[in-house]
Subunit: 230 residues, 2 copies
């Protein structure tokens, strides 16, 4: 990612949407998907990962909403209420992180466009690109953490929520697991152009930790599918 | 799923949104996620699976849009153009299937609410529930097929598209793989309340076929992550 011609090859960022981070919340589904599909590189994979987290968090909330207040599930009321609060917050956080990812990517593209005629300019540009690349790895890392949190919430509802929406609980876990994998790619694509060192090692270790939790989402899906097909 | 008290436990479908299948395309992201999170069981896991397909398809389109028209990628122009056409169509199809899933679920809930005072009513209700359950398995099955198609398109772009968006290609595959797993749960939850027989065996075989293709999405993600972290 450190050759400028390669970055020029991304195209699109000087288009009508350049620099404008739309308010994802107010975007229509079709409009957001259209922007995702466009030649503008942002929103891209990072925003898509964030949306998968938001979908998983929303389904966790739905399962709690169909559990809370029902006498038959009274024993799970307290846990479900706590899970709902956290899931609602994670949904909002995911959308915010999607916008942060978009902004960090735009900042990175701006750094790549710095002048590089003189030696001083080349040095300044290299430092700016390195710093922006590090910054661009942070939103997807936070998205991976949020995905892991969604998986943990889904796990805590297993056997402790309305069994008629157990399939929705599985979908929450599947979306969060997919989100974590998506976020991981976006962390790694940024780390790949950073020099080896403490910062890179630390971010990689953090990512591995989130991925290990998120991987349990797939086990939860498998467990629920076994229940449904036995 | 065949006890009516259990279905009453779902709640929400007599609420203000009862019977109203919103136009997902025009929904805002925040509004759709709010409906997903609500106690209304639709939209639920089926719609979430469809949205994951749409996200994957949109990212496939994005990768083609950053490949087509660039002299350096001229060799891949024809394939990318074909892939883009199919990916754009799959995105629209996924949103349509999400709405179909919601409608089929609502129809199933209506069948569960049929009267069951007399023996005739009970028989009529049982047949209606069975028929609606079968019908409710079809949209998620089609969503699984669409997810498999997105994975196949992503595969065909590997090494034949702009390498600067290879991470977006991986996210497309991750989202589609998560979508397939999500759709599978929704097929299986409906099949679980159908009697064994030819119809059930056929739908199960179709699902397995889609899942086998979609599973390759995860291999594509792993392959790209290896490239990024080597």
């Amino acid at each position: 990612m450190d050759d400028a011609n390669g970055m020029d090859d991304m195209g699109g960022t000087n288009g009508p949407n350049a620099g404008a981070i739309a308010d994802t919340n107010a975007d229509t589904i079709a409009g957001w998907l259209e922007r995702l599909a466009s030649a503008d590189p942002a929103p891209g994979g990072g925003a898509a990962a964030a949306m998968q987290v938001a979908i998983g968090a929303a389904l966790v909330s739905m399962v709690t909403n169909l559990t809370i207040g029902k006498p038959v599930h009274a024993a799970h009321e307290e846990n479900a209420t706590q899970v709902r609060e956290r899931a609602d917050a994670l949904r909002a956080e995911a959308l915010r992180l999607g916008r942060e990812d978009e902004a960090a990517f735009t900042a990175l593209m701006t750094a790549y466009r710095l002048p590089r005629t003189t030696e001083e300019e080349r040095t300044a540009r290299r430092d700016a690109v390195r710093s922006a690349t590090h910054a661009a790895a942070l939103p997807p890392l936070a998205i991976a953490a949020a995905a892991a949190d969604v998986v943990a919430l889904a796990e805590s509802l297993r056997g402790r929520s309305n069994p008629h929406v157990v399939s929705d609980l599985a979908v929450a876990a599947a979306a969060a697991a997919g989100a974590a994998e998506s976020a991981a790619v976006n962390v790694e694509v940024n780390l790949s152009s950073l020099p080896d060192g403490d910062v890179k090692a630390e971010l990689t270790a953090d990512l591995e930790e989130h991925l290990a939790v998120a991987e349990r989402g797939r086990a939860l899906v498998a467990d629920i599918r076994r229940e449904l097909t036995r």
